[in-house]
Amino acid sequence: MGKFTRRALLGSVGVVAIGALAYGGSRVACRYVPRNHPDFFSLIDVPDAPVVRRIGALALDRAGGAGGLDALAAALAERPLIREALATDCPTTRKGLVQDACAADFAEERTVVVDGWVLSETEAALCAGRALSA
């Protein structure tokens, strides 16, 4: 086995340091870059609770699996009230908009039954998202 020289050591440290710097710098820089894939499910305040994930997993089973988190998020974001919720910073307003979206689902018979619960498609999808992001 060859001898590990001082030059090799410094080189390795340099590579790691540059890599760390690049990664750290990128993370900082990225904070200021508008994102196409926001942390959707945190934004609309769905609690990350076991019961939510369980209902979400059942909803996914019932739907025969979904197209993944991104597809689910994209589908949800097509709903005007959810889009509006994503664009607002106020948690109370967000919550109200999500509730309105659910109420609209119920009124327009967009409901699903998951583990006996009669849910709006929106809330079932949000629970499914939590299950996928867990």
């Binding site: 109420a103 119920f106 009124a107 018979e109 409901t111 583990d115 006996g116 619960w117 009669v118």
Partner: protein, 530 residues
């Protein structure tokens, strides 16, 4: 006049304008109404003035279908009939219940709700109810709470009234005894109906006691008013001149038996702050006790092909002390005895009630304890979780039926087998009904629902409401019904049926109000025809 056939005082032949068999709500109402119109009435009661084991035993039979039902003790063979133990909840059938429906070919009465309205209004007094008002709008001005803000195109708030409940024996015994146009014979069980030779006219009926005394009753018109099961049994037993039984030429007597499926399942969780006080079990307005429920819009029921249903909210508490799951036969017997003793009377069927109470002493003790605790420690917060309780309608089903078995009672009449059919379709319709209610609650932002009926329904959820209906159903077409719109047996000129056996379909309203209504209507008809 009230007399006892066992006394030997009865003549060999008794006569009157009308012979009414049965002294339940239908028979007593009919007799009183006819007497008021100047008709003489022979009123026969198979039992005595109070409960007797020997008489009640005549009701014993077999249960061959869905077995959450009973044929021996759910009805009473005594003066006053089954009003001796009914619970008193009343509502008229809905206009929808009378309609013909494209999705159910055998649905639809030959009369409309509008035709029955004047008789419904008169029936209220018999049952000690308030005014004939069963819509929320009739009561909203005097109700202390608001209805849930649900979309009325889907779900609306429905009103029932509660009778004390009226015990016909207590309320009408003296009136019958003092009415000169009525002669009432106790212990007089109908054992045969005789037609005039070669005709479709009843010539006489035979009434017997268990100790062998017998009399013949002759009248212009005969009415059998013995309840949903017994009416069919009597017709099927009259085989002397009609081998298939009276009125049973088309094998319809006993078919289309229907009941209300008593089901307490499906949970509703309301959001904090939602006021459900209107739906409490102790609601009273302008002196009338009410029970308020949720019902689907009739147009939606038709478009979705559902059955009718009223769902009532039963509160569920985390702390068991506030729950009412101790209300079993024992508790009912105990509370009935307590109420009757407190009025200074000895309860009827004392021994039976005492034994019911003793058998269920644990539940009685639980009930007493919980009531005591509640009196000084009422629930801090109103309930937010409720179960839906209902007496749900079934679709008309000719295979659900009463038939005779070989076993005979001491009077020589064959006993019955009841093959009550509860189907997955009935329960799936109820599940869809609940889903609509759940969606309406969700749309209003009031809460969420968890269904208690699965996609593959558990039939064991359904219990009989002991509302025996449909076994001599009313229909204009003799191929589809045993009696015509006037409740006359299609194939017999002067024989009529009264009571819930004539119901074409069951709706979801408790039947007693409609039983009394149809009896008043029949009396009007017979006052002219008899």
């Amino acid at each position: 006049m009230i007399a006892d056939l066992r006394s030997g005082a009865a003549p060999a032949e008794i006569s009157g304008d009308v012979c009414v068999v049965g002294t339940g709500p239908a028979g007593i109402t009919l007799a009183l109404e006819l007497a008021r119109k100047g008709k003489t009435v022979v009123l026969l009661e198979g039992g005595g003035p109070i409960y007797e084991e020997e008489s009640q035993d005549l009701y014993r039979g077999a249960v061959t279908g869905h077995d959450h039902i009973d044929v021996a003790n759910s009805r009473l063979r005594q003066f006053g009939g089954t009003s001796g133990h009914w619970t008193g909840l009343c509502a008229p059938l809905d206009p929808l219940d009378f309609e013909k429906r494209a999705d159910m070919p055998t649905h639809g009465w030959p009369v409309t709700r509008e035709e029955l309205n004047p008789f419904y209004a008169r029936a209220q007094d018999y049952l000690d109810l308030g005014p004939f008002k069963y819509e929320l709008a009739d009561w909203s001005a005097v109700l202390p709470h608001k209805a849930l803000p649900l979309d009325p195109a889907k779900v609306f708030t429905d009103v029932y009234q509660e009778s004390p409940p009226t015990r016909f024996a207590e309320k009408f015994y003296d009136r019958i005894a003092n009415e000169p146009r009525i002669q009432c014979w106790m212990h007089a069980s109908l054992t045969d109906v005789t037609l005039q030779d070669g005709s479709d006219v009843v010539r006489s009926i035979t009434a017997r006691t268990l100790d062998g005394r017998q009399t013949t009753v002759k009248a212009k018109t005969y009415v059998i008013a013995c309840g949903g099961l017994e009416n069919a049994r009597i017709l099927l037993n009259c085989r002397k001149q009609r081998p298939a039984g009276l009125g049973n030429e088309r094998d319809l007597v006993g078919r289309y038996y229907t009941d209300h499926m008593t089901i307490e399942t499906t949970t509703v969780m309301f959001n904090e702050g939602v006021d459900t006080s209107l739906y409490a079990t102790d609601m009273e307005a302008a002196g009338t006790k009410l029970l308020i429920g949720l019902k689907l819009n009739p147009d939606l029921i038709k478009s979705m092909g559902l059955n009718n249903n009223s769902a009532f909210l039963v509160p569920q508490y985390d702390k068991e002390v506030y729950n009412d799951d101790f209300r079993d036969y024992g508790w009912i017997a105990f509370s009935t005895m307590l109420k009757t003793f407190s009025r200074g009377h000895v309860p009827d069927r004392f021994a039976e009630r005492y034994c019911d109470m003793t058998d269920d002493l644990g539940q009685v003790a639980t009930g007493v304890y919980r009531h005591a605790v509640r009196s000084f420690m009422p629930p801090v917060q109103p309930a937010r979780v409720y179960k839906l309780r209902q007496d749900a309608e079934q679709s008309p089903n000719p295979d659900s039926r009463v038939t005779l078995i070989t076993d005979k009672d001491p009077l020589g009449l064959n006993r019955i087998a009841l093959d009550w059919r509860v189907t997955s379709d009935d329960l799936l319709k109820l599940r869809r009904t609940h889903q609509v209610i759940g969606a309406a609650i969700g749309a209003a932002g009031l809460g969420r629902m968890r269904l208690g009926i699965g996609e593959k329904p558990d039939l064991e959820l359904a219990y009989s409401a002991y509302h025996h209906m449909g076994t001599t159903r009313m229909h204009d077409d003799p191929k589809q019904g045993v009696v015509d719109r006037d409740c006359r047996v299609h194939s017999v000129a002067n024989l009529y049926m009264a009571g819930s056996s004539t119901f074409t379909t069951g709706g979801c309203a408790n039947p007693t109000l409609t039983v009394v209504t149809l009896a008043i209507r029949l009396a009007e008809h017979l006052a002219v025809a008899a």
